[in-house]
């Protein structure tokens, strides 16, 4: 008794399996796009917040620091940063994510400039770190520096860390690199209180610098004494 070769069965099964796989790919794209949209909406919110703060600040100027709110929370920007980084590695539509990352870099610069102004005029307790890293080649020290900064951010909610990918194709970021004369051979690089630090900095070193940065502000003359914070930092 010779076995019959039922090629139709093999073909039907192949197409069903293929359909299941295509469904998986479709679902992946569908949810990927939803995430991209979610990122866009977060960015839009942040963008509006920054713009609103800027406008508010220009309107009120030196009149009242009380009314200038800390509109964009440091945590919101961080969250967006984390999500974008995750998206870069896990979402299939990388072009879109790259575009969003550019936009994010720009938002960070705007937030940095605004918050610096608010901080100096209204004496808000805050510290700023500009962090330049690279994703282009494997940079273990950059990874380590990233972890140190995340840890410090957890410790000091008033600390604002702005991270910039060296290789991001954005003129504003390039301008910053020029201002601080940062070279890709000296990454990771940090800017604290206008001082450029290249190479890896340990958590202890940075902790000290952040505390100094806070102290600097405490001794600075402020326009509106009511808003000065005198909280001791742990």
């Amino acid at each position: 008794m010779q076995q019959q070769f039922d090629w139709r069965r093999y073909l039907i099964v192949f197409f069903i399996t293929l359909a299941l796989f295509l469904t998986a790919v479709y679902l992946s794209n569908y949810f990927g796009n939803k995430k991209i949209n979610q990122l866009k909406s977060i960015q839009d919110t942040i963008s509006i917040d920054i713009l609103s703060s800027e406008t508010q600040f220009s309107l009120l100027s030196e009149l009242s620091c009380k009314n200038v709110s800390d509109s964009v929370l440091s945590s919101e920007l961080n969250e967006l940063g984390k999500k974008l980084e995750w998206g870069q590695e896990n979402l299939s539509n990388t072009d879109e994510v790259t575009y969003l990352r550019k936009y994010y870099s720009l938002l960070q610069i705007k937030d940095y400039l605004l918050m610096k102004k608010v901080s100096s005029r209204c004496g808000k307790k805050s510290a700023f770190i500009l962090y330049f890293y690279t994703k282009a080649e494997s940079c273990t020290l950059c990874e380590k520096q990233g972890i140190v900064l995340s840890t410090l951010r957890e410790k000091y909610p008033e600390l604002r860390v702005y991270s910039f990918d060296y290789s991001v194709d954005l003129s504003a970021v390039k301008a910053m690199l020029d201002i601080y004369k940062i070279k890709d051979t000296a990454l990771p690089a940090l800017v604290i209180d206008d001082e450029v630090l290249t190479g890896f900095n340990t958590i202890e070193e940075l902790d000290l610098r952040i505390k100094n940065s806070f102290k600097l502000q405490e001794t600075m003359p402020v326009n509106n004494p009511k808003t000065v914070t005198t909280d001791k930092i742990q």
């Binding site: 008794m1 010779q2 076995q3 019959q4 070769f5 039922d6 069965r9 093999y10 039907i12 099964v13 192949f14 069903i16 399996t17 299941l20 796989f21 469904t23 998986a24 790919v25 679902l27 992946s28 949810f31 990927g32 995430k35 979610q38 999500k83 995750w86 896990n90 979402l91 299939s92 990874e143 380590k144 972890i147 140190v148 995340s150 840890t151 957890e154 410790k155 958590i203």
Partner: protein, 432 residues
């Protein structure tokens, strides 16, 4: 960018899902032809059947095995038992001798030579049109033989395999095996529909005498003689069927070590037999066995190993990252960061790999449920199924690798060694 490991994952998972869909399509096509009888049946005529029971150090279970055969609902003058002691070192022979008084039981004691030699000794005394074998760690349901014999109404059917069920699972490991055995009732039946069965299990597969007359006796076959005989039959286009309602209960390994040994032997035997019968592979004239059963067996070996490698890789990457963080900021800070993690659905993976893994596991769960459904009348979810998926995902790669390693070294694992090491506790020698 798509990495090499992703490509391998896609190919292997595609083939694995293909196998499950293949079974499922066959199931929906033929489900009405799956015969499951509940009550007692009677046959118009009862052909003579000989059951050979090979044993080696089976003192603990042999009595139950023989008694279950004596309890078979089958005329005693039509049922002959040949019990062969393959040089046991325990009290097996003393127990067997007690059954000598039965007129339909013949007992033999021989020098140890391996299971196939014990079976072949029994075959020499064969004078009935049907013959079966029952491993001495298994017990038959009293209706099993009659139900199997009905399948021989088809003149082309040369052998019928039963449904092997785990006997009284006592721990999680045996529970996991129960889920697996139940599932194989389903897959075996589907393969039977398509003529693609690659093993006639040691517990109670029944053959026409003609099989051994035409094709010769059992062979050593790398200690998996029940696979080899099935492949030999397939090569000669001898039809093998499966009787899902003929239940045989088998004692399964109760420890990881024993299971590991048993499965290394099965897989080793499978690989060696596939190598021996490679002339069948992808040859249209051999049908399902050549185009589906054997290739899917080989694929499943690679898929399990690859999946394990992937899980292991992810696990170690995770550990490496944690250590990296601890090295960078110290343990105290690391613990603080870990506490602050709050779940955000955004970080839930939506990669295609994630959905494909879901499809893969769902297809396995469906197979488990259908198997259970055939056995118990309706599909029932139980913890056994999850034990099966978890335990086998972790353990199977080890015995698969061991088997491959042994194939490469050409080192055999023997049923004698398996039993001597495990003495006095025992282990079944059957491939399901």
């Amino acid at each position: 960018m798509v990495s090499t490991s992703s490509i391998i994952f896609y190919i292997l998972s595609f083939l694995s899902v293909y196998v499950q869909v293949f079974f499922l399509v066959t199931f929906f096509e033929r489900k009405n032809k799956i015969l499951v009888r509940k009550g007692v049946i009677s046959l118009p005529e009862y052909p003579g059947v000989t059951i050979i029971v090979p044993c080696y150090n089976e003192g603990e279970t042999i009595r139950g095995t023989i008694e279950s055969l004596l309890d078979l609902d089958y005329p005693k003058d039509k049922l002959k038992l040949i019990i062969v002691d393959d040089g046991s070192k325990d009290n097996t022979w003393q127990i067997i001798k007690e059954f000598e008084k039965y007129p339909n039981i013949k007992v033999f004691h021989k020098k140890n030579g391996g299971k196939y030699t014990a079976l072949n000794l029994g075959l020499q005394y064969l004078d009935t049109p049907f013959v079966g074998c029952l491993d001495a760690d298994s017990f038959v349901d009293s209706e099993a033989l009659k139900r199997i014999i009905t399948y021989f109404d088809d003149k082309n059917t040369m052998a019928v395999a039963p449904s092997v069920v785990v006997y009284e699972p006592k721990n999680i490991l045996q529970g996991a095996q129960k889920a697996e055995y139940d599932m194989s009732i389903y897959t075996k039946k589907m393969l039977a529909f398509l003529g693609g069965i690659h093993v006639t299990p040691g517990p109670f597969s029944i053959f026409r005498k003609k099989v051994f007359d035409d094709l010769g006796p059992y062979r050593h076959a790398h200690n998996t003689e029940d696979q080899e005989i099935a492949l030999r039959m397939q090569e000669h286009n001898y039809k093998i069927d499966h009787c899902p309602d003929a239940y045989v209960y088998t004692v399964t390994p109760n420890s990881i070590k024993k299971l590991y040994r048993q499965r290394s032997r099965w897989i080793y035997g499978f690989i060696r037999n596939v190598i021996d019968y490679r002339r069948l592979l992808f040859r249209k004239k051999y049908g399902t066995i050549a185009l589906f059963t054997l290739p899917s067996g080989v694929i499943s070996i690679f898929a399990a190993i690859f999946l394990f490698w992937m899980l292991g890789y992810n696990f170690f990457t995770f550990i490496y990252k944690k250590i990296f963080i601890i090295n960078t900021v110290g343990l105290g800070h690391t613990l603080k960061i870990s506490q602050n993690i709050n779940f955000d659905p955004f970080f839930f993976s939506t990669k295609a790999i994630f959905f494909i893994t879901i499809i893969l596991y769902t297809s396995v769960i469906i197979a488990l449920l259908i198997g259970r459904g055939i056995l118990e009348g309706k599909p029932r979810v139980s913890f056994d199924m999850f034990y099966f998926m978890i335990i086998y995902s972790i353990l199977a790669p080890f015995w698969l690798l061991k088997a491959i390693f042994n194939v490469l070294r050409s080192k055999e694992s023997s049923w004698v060694l398996e039993r001597e090491v495990e003495m006095p506790k025992k282990q079944n020698a059957t491939t399901i």
